[in-house]
């Protein structure tokens, strides 16, 4: 039986089946792309270069052949994109295992291979044949092959078959069958076993005429050829089966078969042949067909269901979208105070959205309240704007003119509003049938504009005011600057004057110094002469004078001496103001004790109770502060001299953070009425006969205390004693402090 016969029967069956299928309208849609196609996914396949007519390479070096065409068509039918590689069988077989290719278009199904690969429906069944050199006569049966050397392609099902069935023990493998045939043709080995059709085709292609197939039945070497995928890749396998079924059903398979195998030649068939055909070919084909049609039906049902589901969900979606849009519109109108309306010219009726009601100040149930809405715009606008609107509306109604107006109205709930209202006519056959429009409440916008305008006016005013203020300030500043300049000038003048005054003062000081010098020198000289010569007179001539004369001489001498003392005191008083003060820390206790010891003769000390407290140290000039103690202690001694029991107390206390020193005695005291005269130079509160003195002592003390920034005051009572208090103020320290 030839392949042509097989092909003929197969075609007959397929035609019958397809006719019955195409009678169903649903089948017309088989070619439509399935909803679940794997669009975008590219399936990589690999093809052999020389397995004619199944897998070959065309002139351009591209994969071609019956299997390739079939795979392409099947893939196209289910919208699979393919990428084709070319490689020798052994390699591409391995590539499929490793996943670098997704499918092979041609693979014979064998039990061994089913362990590694999954197979599609077989699209063709072929038988193997033994090819020998012409003239080979010693091979009549399979048994004859045992001793022969057989060439097969490595990894081909022929090799598997040869090994499985132990056809021969001498097996030589090649990479391709071309190689095998060339080998055989060149006289090497004995036979090549391969597919009959492929073998014949290959010999044709390679133009080898010295090799022929034997008419020897290899019943064990019958091959179903399929597409192969990696084991477990059911998704792709399902697709490929589907595609295969489609192309078988829509006759693409036949076209491809015709292309590669030519028209089948009708021959007379014996009943045995028919039986054989039925057994070997038709029954598998029927099985294939049923498999294919089942797949097709299932696919169609799935597609239909899906499309129905899609339709339902589309409806649902549309409905939801509409609802959502309505909600959105309502929401938008709430937020933006916008409304939409439609006027039906024939019915003379408005349809408003909620936004319009809101703007008009109505609830949706109050349409045409108080007859204010009749066949035209609401009668809400202020008269002059109403006229404009009515006219525009009429124009829209009659002439199809659009309008867009900004108008004022008083809404039904009594609010003044600015609105912008627009209308567009809808024409049908040249007639206005509807007017569509919108209305926007722009009161807030207007208000904002107004506010902005007011704000701007206010700002202008403010700017003007500020500018004025600023210029006033600048003027004032100008004046101040001028005043400052004058002041600086004045200051310069003053400092010049001060300088002058200072110079004058220095001059005066110098004069004073000269005067003091003169007093100390020139005044004392005549006084000395007066006293000296009076003394000489007394010494040398007292005998010549009577008693009264001698007394007068005594008076002269005495007064001369007194005047000397007076001059001395006066000089020290005047020196005080000129003397430079050098500050240091002074041990006041020690100083007071030293002064007391110095001015009180030892024999007098027993008569005096001298109470010296532990008085604190002080800042001061030691030379002049000593004078204070000398004068105060001296006074205390002097004015207690008449007392039986003489008490002199020196102490201190703190008042308002100030150390107050005091010298207290129980002497004759003084009348507080005269306390102001105490510190005046040359002022005395006692008769000279009672207590001698010049009246300068306390004046000197006061001057010293004042120069040290302190204060001095006194308390006393006649015959009960006197108390002198002094502080030493906050004398500025100038770094000359040292412990005395």
């Amino acid at each position: 039986m030839t392949n042509y016969k097989v092909k003929y029967i197969l075609l007959t069956f397929l035609c019958g089946i397809l006719f019955s299928l195409s009678a169903e309208p649903a089948c017309a849609r088989v070619n439509l792309p399935a909803a679940d196609t794997v669009i975008g996914r590219v399936v990589t396949i690999a093809s052999e270069p020389d397995y004619p007519p199944f897998c070959i390479i065309d002139k351009n070096g591209k994969a071609d052949g019956f299997s390739m065409d079939l795979f392409k068509a099947a893939a196209k039918a289910v919208n699979l994109k393919i990428n084709v590689k070319i490689g020798v069988w052994n390699i591409i077989k391995q590539d499929l295992v490793e996943g670098t290719v997704d499918a092979l278009p041609l693979m014979g199904r064998t039990p061994e291979r089913e362990q590694i690969y999954d197979f599609s429906l077989p699209y063709i069944t072929l038988h193997g044949a033994v090819f020998v050199r012409k003239g080979t006569s010693d091979i009549k049966s399979l048994a004859d092959l045992k001793k022969k050397t057989i060439i097969v392609m490595k990894g081909d099902n022929a090799e598997e078959y040869v090994r499985r069935n132990s056809v021969s023990y001498n097996i030589v493998t090649t990479n391709t069958f071309s190689e095998a045939f060339r080998m055989l043709a060149s006289g090497l080995h004995d036979a090549v076993i391969t597919q009959r059709i492929m073998g014949i085709e290959l010999l044709k292609t390679d133009k080898i005429k010295s090799i022929i197939p034997l008419d020897l039945e290899l019943s064990e070497f019958r091959q179903d050829f399929c597409f192969a995928v990696k084991k477990g890749n059911t998704k792709l396998l399902t697709k490929l089966n589907e595609g295969l079924s489609i192309i078988i059903a829509n006759k693409t398979y036949d076209d491809i078969h015709l292309k590669w195998f030519g028209p089948a030649i009708k021959e007379k068939l014996s009943s045995f042949d028919v039986l054989k055909i039925v057994l070997y070919t038709v029954i598998p084909l029927i099985l294939i067909f049923f498999g294919a049609s089942t797949l097709l039906l299932r696919r169609e049902v799935r597609r239909k269901t899906k499309s129905l589901q899609q339709e339902v969900s589309m409806h649902e979606r549309a409905e939801t979208a509409l609802k959502n849009q309505q909600l959105l519109l309502a929401e938008m109108e709430k937020g933006t105070k916008v409304g939409g309306w439609e006027y039906d010219v024939e019915k003379k009726e408005f349809t408003w959205t909620n936004g319009v009601y809101a703007i008009y100040g109505l609830s949706p149930s109050e349409y045409n309240i108080k007859g204010k809405i009749k066949e035209g715009p609401a009668r809400l606008y202020i008269p002059e704007d109403q006229k404009i609107l009515d006219k525009a509306f009429q124009n829209a109604l009659n002439e199809g003119k659009s309008y867009d107006l900004t108008l004022r109205m008083n809404s039904f709930d009594g609010k003044f509003k600015w609105v912008r209202t627009a209308g567009n006519s809808v024409l049908r056959e040249g007639k206005v049938v509807r007017i569509l429009g919108n209305i926007i409440d722009i009161t807030e916008q207007k208000q904002t504009e107004e506010d902005l305008r007011k704000l701007k006016d206010g700002l202008d005013k403010l700017v003007a005011e500020r500018t004025r203020e600023l210029s006033e300030k600048v003027q004032k500043l100008d004046k101040s600057q001028k005043a400052m300049l004058y002041m600086v000038e004045d200051l310069n003048n003053v400092s010049a004057e001060l300088k002058l005054e200072h110079q004058k003062m220095e001059a005066a000081n110098r004069e004073l110094e000269a005067f003091s010098y003169s007093v100390s020198h020139d005044l004392r000289a005549p006084l000395r002469a007066l006293a000296g010569f009076a003394r000489i007179l007394q010494e040398d001539y007292s005998k010549s004078l009577d008693k009264e004369g001698n007394r007068i001489l005594d008076v002269i001498i005495e007064n001369a001496k007194k005047m000397g003392t007076l001059i001395d005191d006066l000089l020290s008083f005047s020196r005080l103001s000129r003397q430079e003060i050098k500050l240091s820390l002074i041990d006041m206790h020690r100083m007071a004790q030293a002064v007391y010891d110095e001015i009180v003769p030892e024999e007098d000390r027993e008569k005096i109770e001298f109470l010296l407290q532990n008085i604190p140290n002080a800042q001061g000039d030691p030379s002049i502060l000593r004078q204070v103690w000398v004068n105060l202690i001296g006074n205390a001694i002097k004015f207690t001299s008449t007392k039986q029991k003489r008490i002199i107390e020196i102490g201190f206390f703190t008042r308002e953070k100030e150390n107050v020193y005091y010298v207290k005695d129980n002497g004759v005291g003084f009348d507080m009425a005269y306390r102001n005269k105490l510190f005046v130079v040359f002022q005395r509160l006692h008769n000279i006969k009672e207590f001698d003195g010049t009246g300068v002592g306390l004046a000197i003390v006061q001057r010293i205390i004042l120069r040290l920034n302190g204060r001095i005051w006194a308390e006393g009572k006649v015959n009960e004693g006197a108390e002198f208090y002094f502080t030493l103020g906050n004398v500025e320290q100038d770094g000359h402090i040292n412990n005395t």
């Binding site: 100390s520 020198h521 000289a525 005549p526 000395r528 003394r535 000489i536 000089l571």
Partner: protein, 147 residues
């Protein structure tokens, strides 16, 4: 007294009253021998350096003590003191400043220029006598000059 004679005390004083009182005080203390008086600063310098009216004086003869008043006509006491103390021949002669001034500045300046004593003339004549006695006793009798 003749300037060319041996002079023990040279008194430089312009006030005749003071001269008289000083001489009396010295006399009272038996110190008035060999006193020579010059009455202004210029004359004092002429005396020391043998110029002017002391042209013929032997300038190698120097007094044992100079009593110097500060306030002098022509050349004042300070200038005289400075000159005496700057001359090798005269600088070892003790100079006692005897003056009315109690001014601190005068005292300090005198000692700085090399004065050996500074004594203020007391108004009281009795005290004056005592003072003169003491200075005379010290500088003429107790003090041992370097020559």
């Amino acid at each position: 007294m003749n300037a060319n004679n041996l002079v023990e005390i040279l008194l430089i004083e312009d006030n005749p009253n003071d001269v008289e009182l000083t001489l009396r005080a010295l006399r009272k203390n038996n110190l008035a021998n060999n006193i020579y008086v010059v009455t202004d600063g210029a004359e004092a310098l002429e005396y020391f350096f043998g110029t002017g009216k002391y042209n013929n004086r032997d300038i190698n003869l120097t007094p044992k003590l100079i009593i110097l008043d500060l306030k002098l006509p022509k050349i004042d006491g300070m200038e005289v003191l400075r000159t005496i103390k700057n001359d090798d021949r005269t600088k070892s002669i003790p100079v006692v400043v005897l003056t009315s001034s109690k001014e601190e500045s005068d005292i300090v300046a005198s000692y700085k220029l090399g004065a050996n004593s500074f004594i203020v003339k007391p108004v009281d004549f009795d005290k004056f006598v005592v003072t003169v006695r003491e200075l005379g006793m010290y500088w003429l009798l107790l003090n041992q000059p370097p020559c």
